[in-house]
Amino acid sequence: MERITIDPVTRLEGHGKIEIFLDPDGEVANAYFQIPELRGFERFCVGRPVEEMPTLTNRICGVCPEAHHMAAAKAADAVYHVDPPRTAKLLRELLYSAFYVTDHTTHFYALGGPDFIVGPDAPAAERNILGVLAKVGMEVGGQVIQCRKQGHNVIEMIGGRKIHPATAVPGGMTQGITEEQRVEIEKIARWSIDFAQFSLGIFDKIVLGNDAYKEMVLSDGYTDRTYYMGLLDANNKVNFYDGRVGIMSPDGERVGTYAPAEYRDWIAEHVEPWTYLKFPYLKKIGWKGFVDGAGSGVYCATPLSRLNTADGMATPLAQAAYEKFYDTLAPKPESGGKRLVHHRLATHWARLIELLYAAERMVELATDPEITSTNVRTVPTEKPTEGVGTVEAPRGTLTHHYWTDERGILTAVNLVVGTTNNYAPMAMSIKKAAQSLIHKGTVVHQGLLNRVEMAFRLYDPCFGCATHSLPGEMPLSVAIRNSDGEVIELLKQNC
């Protein structure tokens, strides 16, 4: 049996390795997507005091430490049965919204965007941030840098540090912000709304204004009908910091919503012995393997999933963008349920709508009369026991679950991390790309690389998000092996 190995060489938390096996007729027999790294946080956090979890679990991911910081603080609140003062929650959400603005901007311009803005058929060497700047103008590069810089300044003002924030603790925050800081944050938030709208304008002009791109977005090769997951506020609108977790079926029916503490009634994690990462799935539907459709428990937790799961956005400009999104890509419901978009490449557009929401939410929070209150902490009075904290990380619903002894020392830890939610859908998207481009042993070389790369990127996987940094390109190598494991052909891109 022939074997094709694809090593995407971008990484953060480990990296992905793809093995494609061909059957005797040269068709794809199977594709395996392996994660070759484990660090063991669930083990070595045991024995630590629960109040340290917001800083310890920051170190799970340096790209989204804010997500772990918040999920950990919320889980620790729950362990102590304490409800932080309103201002503390506003500050956490404000920091988190600033992070979303920064993170989604970086993804669009440096990582995912190049495929569209520069074009999927452009030479790989041009499909990067420099190619983007060449197309949209160098001054935009300055704005992207300004956006990142300002976002990290807000994170530092509230969290104490630009990377790995330090201020969220059980019961609230270590300290609040001054009026001077609030004014600065509001200014940055208003700038961010303009920037988000400008970015949606670029998408509109370059992608939606180009029939070839639109056709690609709508093509079957990039369409998967899975369940969707996303955090919902009390009005079933998208929320990043708090709420109930909603599940939407591929037919547009909301299967249900659950409180974070009930997550184990809804999800379980499947194990395969060929990878260090587990595959979460919907427990009530069941693990049916790497297949989509309403009969399979595979679900997706991405910007697209969140829009699909919610009834809309909680802020006016983002809501208008949301309506345009569905009017354009899903003018009619498929089966009487909610209108859904199953086209995975539309995730990039959904991400920009979330960027706009995060910026609008920043303004709401920064102008809340209580944001500068010094009442930021509730001292716990109850005995610590067990608690769950969930936030919506940019790369998927993130859940921390802690158990402690009566001193608040951890006795067990369970983490269901953002990117992990999308492990099975990513594996499926990759197999689909392979199946559409490998027939009778013939590999469409560059096409395969591009397709796998694009299928992988739209999820913004954490093990791939080192490409958030400069080059913004995903080096890949494909080794085609014969049945003896010898490499008979080697293809490379960007490496």
């Binding site: 090593d7 990484r11 070759p36 340096g62 104490g160 693990w287 080192a466």
Partner: protein, 343 residues
């Protein structure tokens, strides 16, 4: 492009020193800290020919292997040594690099993931694959060589212990921090650029770059009254702290006295304790021992048993005293797990 232009471009590129940035087992925060030097990224790109960053895998092995030994001027390695694959790469890069920099806490001292060395490899893997949301009726574990219907799949081997870069290869410099502060990264790179230009001195081998030679307390704006404490408090037990007085003197275990300065004492400035991410201060042989003696000096107790009682207020001593430095500390360096597979 004409062949002439191409070759002159190549000659120009060859004249620049080569820079490699490699991440082993890490969170990526070090890479983000480098990106956060913002507009100075352009200066880095102008000063160096970046031959590796952030890409690290198979496709690159051959390119790096094809280089002459010492061809890369400077390699920054972040992340710890967790699998056989990362160790192999660290050794390869060492051979190809003139200067090897241990970048950030993971590479330098193991960082928080180094706390994994308190457990065996088996315990770590067992825990991950038996959590309460894991559906694992056959009690499976990842295997380095896995037979699937279509063939064999390989995974890098999870090493029995987590090691620092220096425990695997010789290093030339260290840039501490979790992650290093971006302005310090730029300052360190600028110094290296000057040295390479011949406009500045080359730091002596073994130097710590991008940090101070004192402690976090020295950069902390909080006042120290040399006040004694009779008990330690945990941060959630009190509504807040006096914004001007030393946190340790208010009873909060703060790691400032043992930790190298360079960060700007950011955490104490927001009423959070220093957690020690810049590693041991200059001249400190064992981080935990230094911190313990600093704590002992503020404790108001005469007899050893009284001191013990106050120290009972620190519920997780190994985490408190070796939060970032366990893997690189004297404590772990003689551990039998290094020889016996850590099972």
């Amino acid at each position: 492009m004409s062949p002439a232009a191409k070759s002159s471009g190549a000659a120009k590129a060859a004249a620049k020193p080569k820079l490699a940035i490699f991440g082993a087992a890490s969170c990526g925060g070090c890479d983000i800290a480098i990106v956060n030097i913002h507009e100075h990224i352009v200066d880095v790109a102008a000063a160096f020919d970046i031959v590796l960053w952030p890409t690290i895998m198979d496709g690159k092995y051959s390119d790096i292997e094809a280089m002459a030994d010492g061809e890369i001027t400077i390699t920054l390695v972040s992340g710890s040594m967790r699998t056989d694959e990362t160790i192999h790469l660290a050794k390869l890069l060492r051979r190809k690099s003139k200067f090897m920099v241990s970048f950030g806490s993971c590479a330098s001292e193991g960082c928080i993931p180094g706390l994994a060395n308190l457990s065996s490899r088996k315990q770590i893997i067992d825990t991950a694959f038996t959590t309460s949301s894991t559906d694992n009726p056959e009690n499976l574990r990842p295997v380095w060589e896995c037979q699937v219907p279509e063939g064999i799949l390989h995974l890098p081997e999870f090493e029995p212990v987590l090691r620092t870069l220096e425990q695997v290869v010789e290093i030339d410099y260290t840039i501490p921090g979790c992650p290093p502060e971006s302005k310090q990264i730029w300052a360190a790179l600028e110094a290296v650029v000057k040295a390479l230009n011949g406009t500045g001195p080359l730091p002596p081998k073994g130097s710590v770059l991008g940090a101070g030679d004192s402690t976090v307390c020295d950069e902390c704006a909080r006042k120290r009254d040399v006040k004694k404490i009779t008990k330690f408090v945990r941060i959630q037990e009190v509504a807040g702290f006096d914004p001007e007085i030393c946190l340790l003197e208010q009873g909060l275990p703060c790691n400032g006295p043992a930790t190298r300065n360079g960060c700007g004492a950011l955490c104490p400035a927001v009423s959070a304790p220093c957690i020690g991410c810049y590693g041991a201060a200059e001249g400190v042989v064992d981080y935990g021992a230094r911190l313990m003696s600093a704590y002992a000096s503020v404790v108001e107790a005469m007899k050893p048993e009284e001191i013990d009682k106050v120290l009972d207020g620190i519920p997780d001593p190994v985490g408190q005293f070796y939060r970032f430095s366990l893997a690189g500390s004297l404590l772990r360096s003689g551990r039998s797990a290094w020889q016996n597979d850590g099972e």
